[in-house]
Symmetry: C2
């Protein structure tokens, strides 16, 4: 039993899908969320830059005495999970291991597709983790850079979104995949479109849900859970740029009850 | 006559269209270009953050003894031109005044449309400058957040681009504009699509060309030109993130002869 909060960081807004899944699964836990909106997106940035930003974000969360940190950004998970685990004395969970494990459980044929940002896909992190779990698995990967801006513009299910999704996902049809990992926190919002393009035979894996399940498993295993104590839970939100866009776009991900975050200056954070 | 280079900065890659126009118009001038690719884009970030980043970028360029700085990013021009001019002892030119002046010259009806990023449009900078030039002008503005990722993905003239452009630009038809300012350095690459959607009666204003013309006028006026001196000109390129993406995507804007840039750490730059 540990009353410290769970820390969650993301390059911006998308990690709210992971936070939401954590809160739904563990309603008595307190949380601290940091969205690095002054430097978003990470998906097109280099490994060294993403590692540096991730360490700064984790150091900020650590200052709240968090008991566990979730890198709720696929690109940060792909590039920075090792450096984060090395730098910190508390457990750090990314979204790639849980998503990969869920894909391996779901697949019958062992043919798995992965979509994500340029950074996530070029890191080959999903491929490596899936192959480590099952060397026989066949993994096809594709970066879909327009999906994040489409989601943030609210183009969730339009003709243009369909055309772009068909362009990106077409090649998976030749690979006969039966499972597709949505390797970016924004993509679950395109589930309907992606499902329509891929057909009903393909299972979609939402890393947010898989990650929340893994967080819970780890807290139980390490006896770090916070149980009901009669007090209201506290969910704190921080951003590195102005709160206004976070609130307006964040509602797409978290719901209308997303509170206004506090702005901090991350460049002053030592890592 | 002044042999110092011209400094140009942008949030990333788009400013290369402005640099290209400058080099074409003033072939004997040396240049230093900084693309802040570690923090791109600026278009969705707040005024305070864009001002801070712009001052750091200008301080870096100043360290090369540049004689003039061009803020080749519309969002930086919209938010940071005043603070830059205040902080620096050399001329600073943005892209908004030249683009606005070109629009006022081009329009017959005085009905002008402006498209740009969320930051540029919400700053109302184009509207203010155009209205200052001609209080009778009628200005309609629209943010087009998907245009930048569409360009960077090479979706310059596709069905999806047409649908999205029709979505964004539709309302301008009701306003009967005869001139449309492409208020983002990426947008000139969508000229063909935008032209098709708007029809032939609407003139498109490319701020890059207008800005190069203004740079030349100012250098002549202040006697700061560099004339032919028999030496090869030097064009230096710097980025704040890994050079690889800058080179691959930058070619869309600058041409295949774009040299590899050097990476610097902008967060260590005092402003």
């Amino acid at each position: 039993m540990n009353k410290s909060p769970i820390g969650v960081f993301d390059s911006g807004i998308g990690g709210l899908t992971v936070l939401k899944a954590i809160i739904e699964l563990m309603p008595f836990e307190d949380t601290v969320y940091l969205g690095d909106t002054a430097r978003v997106p990470y998906g097109t940035k280099s490994e060294a830059t993403v590692v540096r930003y991730s360490l700064q974000n984790a150091a900020f969360l650590r200052s709240f005495g968090v008991k566990l940190i979730v890198a709720a950004c696929n690109t940060a998970s792909a590039y920075a999970l090792g450096p984060l685990q090395e730098a910190l004395d508390i457990p750090v969970i990314g979204v790639i291991e849980p998503g990969s494990a869920a894909a391996l459980s779901a697949t019958d044929s062992g043919k798995i597709g992965v979509i994500g940002t340029e950074g996530t896909i070029s890191s080959r992190a999903y491929r490596d983790v899936i192959k480590a779990g099952n060397p026989q698995a066949q993994v096809s990967e594709r970066a879909c850079p327009l999906f994040v801006p489409l989601v943030e513009e609210g183009f969730l299910s339009t003709e243009a979104t369909d055309i772009i999704a068909t362009h990106y996902l077409g090649e998976f049809k030749d690979h006969n995949i039966d499972t597709l990992v949505l390797g970016c926190t924004h993509y679950p919002l395109l589930k309907e479109t992606i499902s329509r393009v891929m057909g009903k035979g393909v299972r979609l894996i939402d890393s947010a849900e898989a990650t929340a399940t893994e967080v819970k498993r780890l807290l139980v295993e390490k006896n770090l859970e916070k149980c009901e104590d009669g007090k209201a839970t506290e969910h704190r939100f921080f951003v590195t740029d102005s709160p206004s866009r976070f609130v307006s776009v964040g509602r797409i991900f978290f719901g209308d009850h997303l509170p206004a975050p506090k702005q901090i200056d991350i460049s002053k954070q030592d890592n």
